[in-house]
């Protein structure tokens, strides 16, 4: 079976500056792939390229469809939910309005109501704060909101950009546990960018190592974890 997401020779540019130089990558349906790499390696750009948020070249297929020429909002409508770098919260809207926007493209009222319950069950804090302006939430709560907003799309694929960024270790642990159960219960495929390589490799089944815009290594999470160079550079022992 073809993978859920498949990129071949993916290049991306900021203006005329190339940032990705032809990356091959795949995420299986219901699988979790991790993108590792130092700052500036092109991880965030890779997620943006998938969603057509930057100029890109190369072949990308999602659920059997070519994504070339599609605008961001059309790719989202195919079932790709992106939790962006910086969380992308609508800070002047309430928590509940943020979640309603997540389901903006859906028409199934009962399904949406069910998903509200589901994300509130994952993150009870959000239910308590549902009438509160999202900008007043703590960093961890905003990350929960960003993930929940993405889930409200009922996505097939979740793109996560540094979900642990700036959060307390305990909160991070919670969030990663919930990501794992979301993946198991709803078979949502995930592509996760993460500075914390240990965390990412624990969650993922596959991993890619990016260096200056190229995938220099790829394989199962276990194989990558076992690699000496990765261990020294990214796992730090």
């Amino acid at each position: 079976m073809a993978p859920l997401l498949e990129a071949r020779g993916l290049k991306a540019y900021y203006g005329s500056t190339p940032v990705l130089h032809g990356v091959d990558l795949a995420v299986e349906a219901g699988g979790i792939a991790a993108l590792l790499g130092a700052n500036g390696a092109g991880k965030t750009t890779l997620l943006r390229a998938i969603c057509a948020m930057v100029r890109r070249e190369g072949e990308i297929r999602f659920a059997g469809r070519a994504l070339e020429g599609l605008a961001t909002e059309d790719i989202v409508r195919l079932g790709v939910a992106h939790v962006p770098d910086g969380r992308g919260t609508f800070v002047h809207l309430t928590v509940e309005e943020n979640l309603r926007l997540g389901a903006y493209t859906r028409g199934d009222r009962t399904g949406i109501a069910g998903d509200f319950e589901r994300v509130y069950a994952y993150f009870p804090r959000l239910r308590e704060r549902r009438r509160q302006q999202a900008g007043t939430l703590s960093g961890g709560e905003q990350q929960m909101l960003a993930i929940s907003r993405a889930l409200m799309l009922a996505p097939k694929l979740l793109l996560l950009d540094e979900p642990s960024f700036g959060l307390a270790p305990l909160v991070v642990k919670d969030i990663f546990q919930i990501l794992r159960s979301i993946n198991r219960e709803q078979r949502v495929g995930m592509l996760i960018v993460e500075q914390n390589a240990t965390l990412a490799l624990d969650l993922a089944d596959h991993a890619y190592l990016l260096e200056t815009g190229r995938a220099v290594m790829s394989g199962t999470a276990a194989a990558i974890r076992g690699d000496d160079a990765v261990r020294r550079s990214y796992l730090g022992y």
């Binding site: 409508r77 609508f90 309005e97 493209t105």
Partner: protein
């Protein structure tokens, strides 16, 4: 005392018209951070359309509603066709487009309808139970129409999914795309709503100032002063600002500078707000981290 009350009440009535213009300006400003200088001329042109419809034999209210629909469609079309190509252009390019639109609508109205001053009907009777000692029936009716318009706009933004999406698109276009909102279309809808709100202002003003291609010049300035005074990023503040400007204008005209220099009151307010409190009475102060 009666004279003073009279000035205040008719100021509120004028303020209703400025409030509608202010609302139209804010609807576009929120999404684009640009002030549409052509707003007044668009409203004037819509009023001519209403006039033409009434001349063609349509009763007032159907003509009123049809004009709103036409103005809305026109606003959407202007955004899609004329402003879209300037999407990523510098601010000055957009300003030039606005000024171009202003002169196009002004000339087009003169060309089609001539520059002869025309009377425009009021839907409200000369004498009616809702006329009071201080407010003519038209003024009472016009205030009621303004408030109804505001209520409708409020309900639309507050309670409908489309209204929510428009608020989201204005605040955070990037995140909006990531939840599947077609941001460009939200902008066009904002233009449509602004054009319709402006049309209401035009149709309510025309019975008072008479219909001619330059009728909205002063009104736009007062509306702009109102929007700035209330806070140009806050629709409710802008509307309240419009009413306040209406009252101040009348009082200044009646007691301070005289009717001929009234318009300077608007300029004084604009300069005063920009100097003392640029965010307006109810606006958000935008603090940028650098």
């Amino acid at each position: 005392m009666t004279a003073l009350l009279h000035q205040i009440f008719s100021g509120v009535a004028n303020g209703g018209i400025y409030a509608s213009v202010a609302l139209a300006l804010v609807l576009i400003y929120q999404a684009t951070h640009l002030v549409n200088f052509a707003q007044g001329e668009m409203a004037m042109f819509a009023t001519y359309i209403a006039w033409a419809l009434v001349q063609a034999g349509l009763p007032y209210w159907p003509a009123f509603l049809l004009t709103l629909v036409i103005a809305f469609a026109g606003g959407v079309a202007i955004e899609r066709v004329i402003l879209r190509p300037f999407d990523k252009a510098p601010v000055l390019a957009a300003v030039c487009v606005f000024i171009g639109l202003l002169s196009i609508f002004n000339s087009l109205a003169g060309f089609i309808f001539t520059y002869t001053i025309k009377t425009f009907p009021s839907p409200f009777a000369e004498r009616a139970w809702y006329g009071t000692r201080f407010l003519s029936p038209h003024e009472t009716g016009e205030i009621a129409i303004t408030l109804a318009l505001l209520l409708l706009v409020y309900a639309f933004f507050r309670f409908t999914p489309l209204g929510l999406a428009m608020r989201a698109a204005a605040q955070n276009p990037q995140s909006s795309r990531l939840v599947g909102i077609r941001v460009g279309w939200m902008l066009a809808l904002g233009w449509g709503l602004a054009a319709a709100a402006g049309a209401v202002a035009g149709m309510m003003a025309a019975p008072i100032v008479y219909l001619e291609p330059n009728m909205m010049g002063g009104i736009l300035l007062y509306g702009f002063a109102g929007a700035l005074l209330g806070g140009i990023d806050n629709p409710w503040g802008a509307v309240l600002g419009g009413f306040i400007v209406g009252v101040l204008e009348n009082l200044a005209g009646g007691y301070i500078v005289g009717a001929e220099l009234k318009l300077t009151a608007a300029l004084v307010i604009i300069v005063g707000v920009l100097v003392v409190r640029p965010s307006g009475l109810f606006g958000h102060l935008i603090a940028t981290r650098v």
